[in-house]
Symmetry: D2
Subunit: 162 residues, 4 copies
């Protein structure tokens, strides 16, 4: 059973029907070590899945994380808020599909939405707010938001003509 690790497609954004938003699909094998004594995924592991999927979404947009950090002088895109609803458990050996898309861009932050499917069933939904972050020039231990470059945002959006 060959698995495609990742695939990209353009989805119609519900709010602004004349824009196409990049959505990435990533297949993840649930591993033995991802599961707890109840035999189901230990939920902090889902957040690692989602973090990997956000990285994969940026890579699908032509921004692999290691190059993006260097090119834009950022320290990362840290999370400031996340929420997940766990609808049905998964077990080791399951191959789940996660669909990820940017739900909204703001000045220095943005929202990512993940939907994890077991077959056709929506098993976990996750919503994250992340910041385009640089090291503070006045205190290297501090991290500050910066405006997300328009060229970055443009990579996730395809504006069609009517």
């Amino acid at each position: 059973m060959p698995l495609k690790l990742s695939s990209r497609k353009w989805m119609i954004n519900a709010k602004r029907t004349w824009k196409l938003m990049l959505t990435n699909r990533k297949s993840i094998r649930v591993e033995w070590g991802d599961c707890d004594p109840a035999g189901i995924v230990y939920y902090p592991r889902y957040f690692a899945y989602f973090d990997n999927c956000t990285a994969a979404l940026f890579e699908a947009a032509g921004l692999p994380k290691q190059e993006m950090l260097k090119a834009h002088g950022i320290v990362g895109i840290p999370i400031v808020d996340t929420r997940a609803r766990f609808l049905t458990p998964s077990r080791f050996g399951d191959d789940v599909i996660i669909e990820s898309t940017i739900a909204e861009w703001r000045n220095s932050s943005f929202d990512v939405r993940h939907k994890l499917f077991k077959g056709d069933v929506l098993a976990v939904e996750c919503f994250e707010t992340r910041v385009w972050a640089v090291r503070s020039e006045t205190d290297a231990r501090k991290i500050e938001g910066r405006a997300v470059p328009q060229e970055v945002i443009a990579r996730f959006t395809h504006t069609g003509k009517d």
Copy 2:
């Protein structure tokens, strides 16, 4: 610098001032391996901290997880919903304090609230909904909610006299 691993105290519940709700405080050392290349805690690790703190809260109430599962025939108290806000990052070597309490009991589910402090600063807030869960009798791979026993709830609440 001696560290107390865990301590319990009774806090006045804001909504119902005549009830005292058990709150547990747990100190956690942020380890090197909890941190990412930005040098700050990799956020899925916070959820592992919080899961450990929920276990510690139940233990403070006299219900260590391994005994609780056996005594009540449950498979665990899996998460169905969680949200966390990350206000300020932590780094390896930091000792953080997490205060955990049950925010609400419902029939077969309950809410836990965690506040993670770096010194006096609230650094992360987390809210979880969990289920008192048993294996389904008709399908061992399924997990179902059951009413939380009153004797369990009673361990977290102390009703005072006016």
Copy 3:
């Protein structure tokens, strides 16, 4: 850049040139959360990679873990000894290839050897001894070794004719 998740091939076993031993190759993307503040893979994560690769090797032999446990009534194939040498570090964004093979079968235990490559460079070598393990009939908390079934061993070996 399409990635093949896993591929199988038959390699000539050095010691017994008339036997072909199944070797599985698995590609793993090093993720941001696999790395520590030095920016390199946090080494306990390598052991999770190797554990996943042992599972993938068994699956390549027609024994996906979840089915294997059920079919053979085992609780798992726990590690009793492992050694790893880390020759060169890897970083997030690297795609590494891990080659895994059974180095030796004994009565109730067996050795697995993993070689992790970054491009053509051998970056990590790992050696594990695992046990074919069942729950003890006299004490459910104990785990005991059992003879590995010949039909299992046969799936990893292809004896050629001279």
Copy 4:
């Protein structure tokens, strides 16, 4: 049951009986999320325990990791070789004790030995070789060994008078 997180003591080194080697003892609670579907510790987690214990050993010697990195300009003390033997499994809720000591100092590398006890029973033994590592001046992505400062070594050894 109050737990002391960490304690230090001086042990007589077997090879050179006139030297006392610093040994650190650390108590670790095995958490639910450290365990796998077999209900026992997922073995990569033991390596995270041991990594934390090496950090605790250095801290007991007066070298907390974050300060040590800064004071000595090192990027870390990465592992180049490790071996562990798993003699008896542990489960969530267990409190294990890990004794850690430096087994040998060489020029730019050193060996750490860990013994993990469940009560009086030796449950896991681990041996690590680590390097006193700096970023290469010619290639920031490379990591190189440097001679361990004598003042660092001195903190772990107490030479007695006959």
